[in-house]
Amino acid sequence: MNGGFHIVVCGSIVPDPLQTLAPIEGPTGPALKNELMLPAVLDPWAGHALYEAANLAKNVPDSKVWLVSLGPKAKLQQLMMSIAQKVSFELVVLDGPAGGFTDPCEVAAALAGGINGIAGLDRSRLLLFGGCSSASRDAGVTMQMVAEQLGIGDQFLGVDELTIQADGSMKLLERIEGGQYQVSTCTGAPAMLAWATGNLPEPPNNPQIGMMNMRTVMPALQKAQPAPVGAAGVSYLGVELPKQRRETRIVKDLSVDEVAREIVEWLKG
C-alpha cells in the first residue's frame, strides 16, 4: 500500500435514546410518531467508528476520512452542527429516510452507490468503517452488505480494537460469545470493520475543526443525491410497544437483614 488509509465511515442519525418512541402507520409502512421532530443523535456505534477513523487517520500520515450518511438532509444538517466540530472528515450525503423500518439491502445498495461515487477514493487503501449495528433497525447486516458490493473480502464485526503493526498488517479484536474477543490479523487494506464501542471517548467540540469541515459540509448537503430507500417486498403486519408496564412494588421500610433475606429467597426460589 502506498500512502495512508482511505477510511470511509457509514453513519447516520437515530432518535435520541432518552426520547419516548411510539410506532404509527405511515404512508409507506410503519414509522415513528413525530419522526421528523424527534431530536436525533449520531447512531452510537457508527459514532465510535467515526472517532476511531479520525484517530487512525491522525496516526497514519496521508490518510483521509469520509463520512457517508443516508438520512433526511435537514436532520443531517442539524447533526453536523455538533459532529463536524469533533473530528475532520469529508461528508457525502444521501438524502433519504433514516428510520428503522427500511430494508438493509436497499440501504446497503444506496451506501455502496454513494461510496462508488467518491472521487479520488483509492480502493487498495480503503478501510470501510461503520457501526456493528444501528440503534434503529438493529439488524447488524448493513456494513457486510456494503462491503460485499465493494468487493471487500475481509470483514470484521463488533470490533473494539484495531492495531496497525510494524509490517503494516492489522491486528483486530472482535467481540464474540461469553464476553470474549477473537484476535485476528489481516494483511492490510481493503477491509471492513463494523465497530462496537472501541476505546476512545467522544472527542470534545473543537470550533477550528468545525470551521474546516463546514467548507465541505455545506456543499455536500447542497449536492445531496436523493436516496428513496424503502422496504420493497416486506409486509409489516403490526408494530407494537411492549405490553404493560410492571406494577413496581416499592419496598421502603424493611431492615437491611429483611431485604437481604427476601432477595436470597427470590434468588433461590
Partner: protein
Amino acid sequence: MEKILFIAHTQSDGTLPNVAREALSAAVDLSKKLPGSSFVAGIIGQEANQAADSIASCGAAGFLSVTGAEFAVSRYATDAAAVEALVRQTGATLVVAPTTSRFSRALPGVVQRVQGRIETHISGMDIVEGSLQIQRWYYRQRMVATLTRAQRPWFLVIDGGVFPAWQGEPGSANAENVAVQLAADTLRTQVIGVQAPSTNTQTIRPEAEVLFVAGAGWTKKQADGQLHLKDAEELILGFLKNCNASLGSSKSLVDQSVEGEAVLPFMSHLNQVGQTGSTPRHPKGLATCCHGEEPHAVGWRFINERRAINTDANCGWAQGKADVLYVADAFQVMAKVNELLAQ
C-alpha cells in the same frame, strides 16, 4: 414450496453450540408446518460428522457439510464461501441459522451474493394461513414488529433463548461433503485465538440464572462522604461467585475506565447492558446502584423477573421497570446477601 436449509457451524470441540440446536427446533417446526416443504441441514467446521450425527434424527431429508482446516475458524471469507456453497447447492428458499458471532459476521454478505434478504434477531415465528411471519424488535427493543416478505432466499437468523434446544437421538447422518473453491486471497485474515477482555475473572456468563447489574453508584461517594471501591469490588465479585451470576453494567460505570478514573478493574464495555450494550437473556435480574434510565433498561427486555436496590425511591426502576424496588443501601444489603448465600 419452500426449501428449508438449516445451517450451523461447529464449536472448536466439534459439537454444535446450544443456540444451533435452538435454531434447529425452529427449522424442524417450520418444516412440519409448511406443507410440501423440504428440509436439509448443512454443517460447517473442521470436521462435521460428529455434529451431523448428533442431529441425525431431526427429520432432515439430507445432511451436507463443508469441512477442512480453513473452515475450523470464524473468518468472513471462508465462512461466506461455505454458506454460499450450501445455499446454491440446495437452492434453499428459507435459510435458518442461529445467532452466533460467526454467522452474524458472515451471513449478510452471502445474502448479498445470492440476492436474497435477511432478518436477524428473530424472536418469534409463526405460520399463518400457510405464510411465514416472523417477529423482531426495532429501536433496540423499544417496539416489536411482525412481518413477512416476498423475496427468496430469505435468511432467518434466530436469537438464542427463543426456541427450546432440539433434543433427539443421535444416529448416522452420512453427511455429504460439498466442495468449496477458495479464491487465492481468502486467507488474508488469520485467526490467532481468543482473548478474555481483562486478566480478571470471567464475568459474563450467558447461561447464568441471574444477571447482576452494577451501576455507577458503586463508585460514587457514599453517605460517609467517602469512596468505597475496594468494598464494591469485594461485594460484587463475592456475589458473582456465590450466585454464579453474570455481570452486567450501566454505561456510566464502564465509561469511567475509558475516561481514566479509578474504577472496578474487572468491568469492561463488554459488560454494558442497554441501548449501546447488550440485551442478555436471563430468568432473573438484580440491579444495584443503577438508576434504571430508559437507555439502560431497554437492555433488560429479555430479563423476566427484575428487582433493584437503590437508595433513591424515585429512580427509573420505580417507574414500572422493575417488579420490586428495594429502597436501601446496596453496600449493606449485598454484604448481608453474600453472607446468607455463603451459609
